[in-house]
Amino acid sequence: MAQLDVANLCKEYPTRGEPLKVLREVSCTLTSGQNMAILGPSGCGKSTLLYCIGTLETPTTGTITLDGKNPFELPETELAKFRNQHVGFIFQDHHLLPQLTILENVLVPTLAHGSSSSAQVDRAKMLIDRVGLGDRIQHRSSELSGGERQRVAVARSLILGPALLLADEPTGNLDRTNALAVGNLLLELQQQEQTMLIVVTHSTELAEMFQSRFGLDDGRLQPM
């Protein structure tokens, strides 16, 4: 069973004056199959926390370990490999590559190993099917609606079976119906895949669907 431990995480940004403290002593723990939502106003540091956990940002102090391994101790190449194998991302903007088909977009993370195996292609098809786009497999992102694009992004995040799924405002660009659909899909897949899921969102409606909810206030994580 995988476990995420965040301990005393701090993040500062340099400015012309004093450094800007975004995260202060943030700590939390998550195990496989658990999910949590983080709420907070814009600029409170939600996304920063998510990116730090996802190894896209380096914490100023504190530790993050996944299964006891601190990814920030890894060199750049290994860190990318770690992210590739253990972390799946979903963004507010789907970030689908317009030049690729849906299938290819879902397979993009497999390129970290050079090319996709047939098993990965099968898994991609399965995931696309699971997100309800099985008949659109050769379509390009420009041919999809916003909700459909985000569903492809969800499928892409799961292609390599990550232990940790991170979603940054995954429904921020969607209407309520689509937002709920994507939220449900996310949780459904998380449960099926038994991953850990962290979502940062403004939407209390979405947050309500999660096992645990936290708020970020002055850089500190508070249970809600």
């Binding site: 340099p14 896209l56 750049e76 990318a80 970030h95 290819e104 390599l160």
Partner: protein
């Protein structure tokens, strides 16, 4: 799915960006390949032309004198014996003048000098493989002209012209006994039978040049008749099949296979004997019996004399006979005036005493032994006439052996009579066709053959009939002299030692008039002849018979003076750099456009190396496509450049002969590989640092790494490197003024590149550290524009660099545009050249009188200054000739001309450097030529036009540098650069002092080049008068300003060419500027829409964006101007550069307008869009 597919999909998806990048690569490749192809094409065209104009001719035998036609057959037969099939055809080849002839007296006579007259036979045109239709065989009164000559004369087929050919005897006209007049042979009323194009043999010339020659072809038989050279010729064209020989036949091999006779070399071997028998003693007694070798030149040249001595040693007895204008008793008169008791116009002979086996005897009958330097022997007649006895003082007055400007000056020398030799008066004097007869035994002094043949004297029956080539006063000759002539003809009256004669009369023409060989040593003429011919044949070139490997020489010369590929590459460097900057800019823009894509890839676990690899692969494919297209475009670019050089820029190459030679070669491959590396490197550079950009930023569409610190010391290294580069730039700019040729161009362009790099680096540093930030209290649209302009340091810096490079090229190159100056011609308004040498001093009334000028003409010419120069023909080494010069033309500068430049207030030449050391030399650097040298052990000081030294002769060492030329006579000459003059009419020539000139080229007689200073406003009148009076000599004047313009046009046209390249760079710069602005505006659509939503009008928003563009544009222009100033100013101070402010101002204005227009288009295309979608970020 794999990375390859990802790359190909991306390549296709981002085709617009990739196309733009590819086009950038294509442009750079096209310029690179184009530059190489231009070089190849110039070389190839020069080679084609060089070979085409020779037809099948591989080598040419050219003789100063006419030799037997049989020599041609012998040459072929000798090679046939070696199994080599050689073709040879005899020709008559000479320089002449052609002028129009009309029955209408009012018709304007047109004249062309320096025409190559070829006396040809029927088969001549068979050697020309380019002619579709061979010209027909010529009748005796017909000739063929080539098209340039026909154009110059304005004649058509059927018109009449007359030819002026070099004529006269072989006696050097510069020697006192040489005839200075009647040296032109006319060939009137010749009908133009055909006009051949200036192609193939119609363009024949011995010296490689791409310029169009004037050629006239006449029947060889007709020329032989006109010149009195029946069955003789002076040139052979030789051809062989290369497959027959292992390597091309060398001049030495050809020379060895062509044995010439003594007569072919201009010598004659005659028996000079006198026998005596009397009634008392009927048995014949030999008084003397010699073989005598004499020359048609009267004097036997030093080279030939040396060969005779080496071959036959003491058996060859030199004789040196000279003309004494007076022989007198006592001391020479102080006033040099002739007196009545002198014996006028006598021959005196120097011998090696005793002249065994037929020595001169004294009155006692004893052989006269050695004579001291101041001793002479008089013959009995002379002693009687002067009433002189042994021990008396006598003197000789004589012409100095070398006349200058046709003036024969006299000197005298005093002697003591050492002996008197008896002379027998014949019973029957000489008759026209019969010798004198003696009843009394003649003496060895009765020997008129000691005097060589002098046309107009020795062939006359009476002194009254003399037509001497020297100043002659018939009143001095009395009856006694006439009687002597009748009885003794040219029998010498005085004898002296050879050493004395050499000192007094030895000259560049020689110091021997004949060699005598005792018949007892050579009973058989054939033996002696064979010995002499062997000696002469082994050294043909020193006796005026040259074998020229014209094909080999032409191919060697076709390598060209200027490496056009290097030249075009050098000047295309900035275009290539600009194109690469554009490639980097566009690729970077593409990357920035794909920031989110890159961020996504990173977020999904692809490391930056893998992503960079994929982007690099994509870039490599774009580069490859661009290069393939570029190669094709390069051919088109080269074609266009060559078309330009044939038309708009024709002045750079003088004649439109350039054709495209697009043959792929190893050079192109290497260049492409190097370029591919650079282009790919540029792309790799443009995606550098992606790994350090936070993924979050990338996902937000930002590829610029956020500053982690705002300290101003960020990238301080950039400031240091910029300072270092600037220092390098200044140093290179200073060094460039002292260099020449490609080194100078390299230093100049290197300096420019360093300044540009320094400024770009510094600006990048300033932008990066936001050191141009605005002050909040004075915030304005302009300040916002400044802020915006530097929000993307790399992009802005590249844009500025792109504009600056083009701007630099346009300004810097334009500053070297030249205009003719008075100094370029040394204050002379006219210059002239003649086909035939002129022997009279045209700058003196007497000289002009002798040359035949009328009183009216004399009035006009009185205040005209005419300075003649000696000319040794050679290759044209001026910038008008693209061929590599092997032996440039040499000009001999007279002491008078050198002296003239010592005068105060005299317009001198523009001296770039000289070896002047004394104050006099510094005041008149021409004086540096007056150092005695012979060109072997001591190099001859030479003044050269600076451009000729640098570009044609590649003499980069400046004053003091020594170099060697291989001259047409097969000898080398050592020179040392003593002075360099800038932008002068002397481009392409080597200028040496007349004294040194004559030492090295003793066979050159008269003057063929003239510098003329005519009275104010009378230039044209003077030119017309001189051309008219000296038409026979083919005297052709040119306005010096016009000639200078034609020389400077070459450099100016290159400047135009390279400015056009600068224009291309500007086009790229403008394109880059537009691309950047469009990208900027697109990125900021939301921001701009917000401004509009906040109440900004479209126009105001447009002005804001336009201001940003103007900042970059002006930054680019200012950087370019600064770079140009750094590189050009040293040349303005020390060299030839002048800034044409008006032209450049207009050019810069056009650049500004073009930049603004392109920006305006970019601004307009973004501000015209709807606001709401932009605000929503769609």
């Amino acid at each position: 799915m794999n990375r390859w597919r990802f790359v190909t999909q991306s390549l296709r998806h981002h085709w617009r960006t990739n196309l733009a990048v590819s086009l950038g690569v294509a442009v750079a490749t096209a310029v690179l390949i184009g530059a190489l192809l231009v070089g190849d094409s110039v070389r190839g065209s020069l080679r084609d032309l060089a070979l085409s104009r020779l037809g099948r001719t591989q080598a040419v035998v050219l003789s100063e004198r006419y030799f037997r036609d049989e020599a041609v057959g012998q040459l072929v037969a000798n090679f046939a014996e070696q199994g080599i099939s050689l073709e040879a055809q005899p020709l008559m080849f000479m320089q002449g003048t052609v002028q129009t002839q009309s029955t209408d007296p009012a018709a304007r006579i047109r004249l062309a000098g320096n025409v190559a007259i070829l006396g040809i036979e029927a088969g001549f045109w068979d050697w020309d493989e380019t002619l579709a239709e061979k010209p027909r065989q010529l009748e005796a009164d017909e000739l063929i002209l080539n098209q340039p000559l026909a154009n110059e004369l304005g004649v058509e087929v059927g018109d009449m012209v007359s030819l002026r050919l070099p004529g006269g005897n072989d006696v050097p006209p510069d020697s006192p006994l040489g005839r200075k007049t009647d040296r032109v042979q006319g060939l009137p009323r010749m009908t133009v039978a055909e006009i051949v194009p200036a192609e193939g043999l119609g363009r024949f010339g011995l010296h490689p040049t791409q310029q169009l020659p004037y050629n006239a072809f006449v029947s060889r038989a007709r020329l032989q008749t006109a010149l009195g050279q029946s069955e003789r010729t002076n040139a052979i064209f030789i051809s062989w099949d290369d497959s027959d020989v292992k390597s091309p036949l060398s001049p030495a091999e050809i020379s060895a296979a062509m044995p010439l006779t003594l007569e072919d070399f201009g010598f004659s071997l005659t028996r000079v004997e006198r026998e005596f028998s009397s009634d008392e003693d009927p048995e014949s007694e030999k008084i003397f019996d010699w073989w005598q070798l004499s020359s048609s030149r009267m004097m036997i040249g030093d080279a030939a004399a040396q060969l005779v001595r080496e071959q036959l040693g003491d058996q060859a007895r030199p004789v040196f006979t000279y003309l004494a204008t007076s022989i007198g008793k006592g001391q020479p008169p102080a006033d040099s005036a002739y007196t009545d008791d002198e014996i006028p116009y006598s021959t005196v002979t120097a011998l090696g005493f005793p002249l065994s086996p037929y020595p001169l005897l004294n009155v006692e009958g004893n052989p006269i032994e050695n004579l001291a330097d101041d001793q002479v022997v008089l013959n009995q007649w002379t002693a009687d006439r002067l009433e002189a006895a042994v021990g008396d003082a006598v003197y000789l007055t004589y012409f100095n052996p070398e006349s200058t400007h046709g003036v024969a000056s006299e000197s005298s020398a005093a002697f003591t009579v050492a002996a008197i030799t008896p002379l027998t008066t014949p019973d029957e004097p000489y008759q026209r066709r019969q010798g004198a007869t003696y009843t009394t035994r003649p003496t060895t002094a009765n020997d008129p053959d000691l005097t060589p043949t002098v046309e107009g004297i020795t062939d006359q029956a009476s002194i009254n009939d003399w037509d001497p080539p020297f100043p002659y006063d018939a009143n001095r000759v009395d009856s006694e002299d006439e009687t002597y002539w009748d009885n003794f003809r040219t029998t010498p009256k005085v004898f002296l030692s050879l050493e004395t004669a050499r000192k007094l009369w030895g000259s560049r023409f020689g110091s021997v008039t004949s060699f005598r060989f005792a018949a007892s040593d050579f009973p058989d003429e054939a033996t002696l002849r064979s010995e002499l011919e062997m000696a002469f044949n082994s050294h043909k070139s020193s006796l005026g018979v040259q074998v020229l490997a014209v094909r080999q020489d032409a191919l060697r010369a076709a390598a060209g003076t200027t490496p056009f590929n290097v030249l075009f590459l050098g000047f295309s460097f900035f275009i290539i750099a600009a194109a690469l900057l554009l490639v980097a800019l566009l690729f970077r823009l593409g990357i920035e456009q794909r920031a989110k894509e890159i961020g996504t890839l990173m977020a999904t676990g692809l490391n930056s190396r893998a992503i960079s690899g994929m982007l690099t692969l994509e870039g490599a494919m774009v580069t490859a496509i661009g290069m393939i297209v570029g190669c094709l475009l390069g051919v088109g670019y080269a074609w266009l450049m060559l078309a330009g050089l044939r038309t708009w820029w024709l002045d750079a190459v003088v004649t439109p002969f350039l054709q495209l030679h697009a043959v792929p070669g190893i050079t192109h491959l290497v260049a492409l590989l190097v370029f591919a590396g650079i282009a790919l490197g540029t792309i790799v550079w443009s995606i550098r640092g992606l790994g350090s950009v936070p993924v979050r930023s990338l996902l937000g569409g930002i590829v610029v790494r956020a500053s982690t610190s705002y300290a101003k010391h960020q990238a301080r290294w950039a400031r240091l490197v910029a300072a270092l580069l600037l220092a390098v730039a200044f140093a290179l700019a200073a060094i460039a003024t002292q260099l020449g040729g490609e080194a100078q161009a390299g230093a100049f362009l290197g300096s420019g590149a360093a300044v540009l790099s320094a400024v770009m680096l510094y600006l990048w540093y300033r932008f990066r550290n936001q050191l141009l930030t605005v002050r909040p209290e004075r915030f304005s649209i302009s300040q916002l524009a400044i802020s915006n302009a530097m929000r993307n340091p790399g992009r802005s810096t590249l844009t500025i660099g792109l504009m600056a490079a083009a701007c630099f090229l346009v300004i810097a190159i334009g500053s070297f545009r030249l205009t003719p100056s008075e100094q370029g011609a040394g204050g002379r308004d006219l210059m002239a050249e003649s086909s035939q040498p002129i022997y009279h001093d045209l700058s003196t009334p007497q000289g002009r009188y002798d040359a035949g000028f009328t009183d009216d003409e004399e009035t006009l010419l009185t205040n005209t200054e005419i300075e003649p120069l000696r000319v040794q023909p050679g290759d044209d080494a001026s910038c008008l000739n693209l061929y590599q010069s092997n032996s440039p033309r040499v000009l001999g500068v007279t002491p008078r001309m050198i002296e003239a430049y010592s005068e105060a207030n005299r317009v001198s030449f523009d001296w770039a450097a000289s070896a002047a050391q004394t104050p006099e030399e510094r005041s008149n650097p021409w004086l540096v030529l007056e150092k005695e040298a012979e060109g072997k052990e001591i190099p001859i000081p030479v003044v050269i036009d600076k451009n000729t030294a640098m570009y044609a002769l590649h003499l980069y060492g400046g004053v003091g540098e020594q170099f060697e030329t291989l001259d047409d006579d097969g000898r080398t000459t050592q020179y040392v650069v003593a002075g360099l003059i800038s932008n002068s009419i002397f481009q392409g020539n080597l200028l040496v002092s007349e004294e040194n000139f004559l030492k090295r080229f003793p066979d050159v007689n008269g003057y063929r080049m003239f510098l003329i200073r005519s009275p104010e406003g009378q230039s044209e009148e003077v030119a017309a008068t001189l051309e008219n009076r000296l038409a026979d000599q083919g005297f052709d004047t040119t306005q010096t300003e016009q000639y200078l313009e034609s020389l400077l046009a070459v450099q100016n046209t290159y400047i135009s060419t390279f400015q056009s390249l600068g224009g291309l760079g500007l086009l790229l710069g403008t394109f880059g500027l537009a691309a950047v602005q469009l990208r900027n505006a697109l990125e900021r659509r939301g921001e701009l829409a917000l401004l509009q939503a906040a109440g900004f009008s479209r126009g105001r928003v447009g002005r804001l964006v336009l201001q940003e563009t103007v900042i970059l544009l002006l930054g680019g222009l200012a950087t370019g101007i600064f770079a140009a100033a750094v590189t050009v100013v040293p040349h303005m101070i020390f060299g030839d550069a002048t800034v044409p402010f008006e032209t450049l101002g207009v050019t810069l204005l056009l650049i500004l307008i073009a930049g603004l227009l392109s920006s305006f288009w970019a601004v307009r295309s973004t501000t015209q869009g709807a606001i709401l979608p932009a605000l929503r970020g769609d």
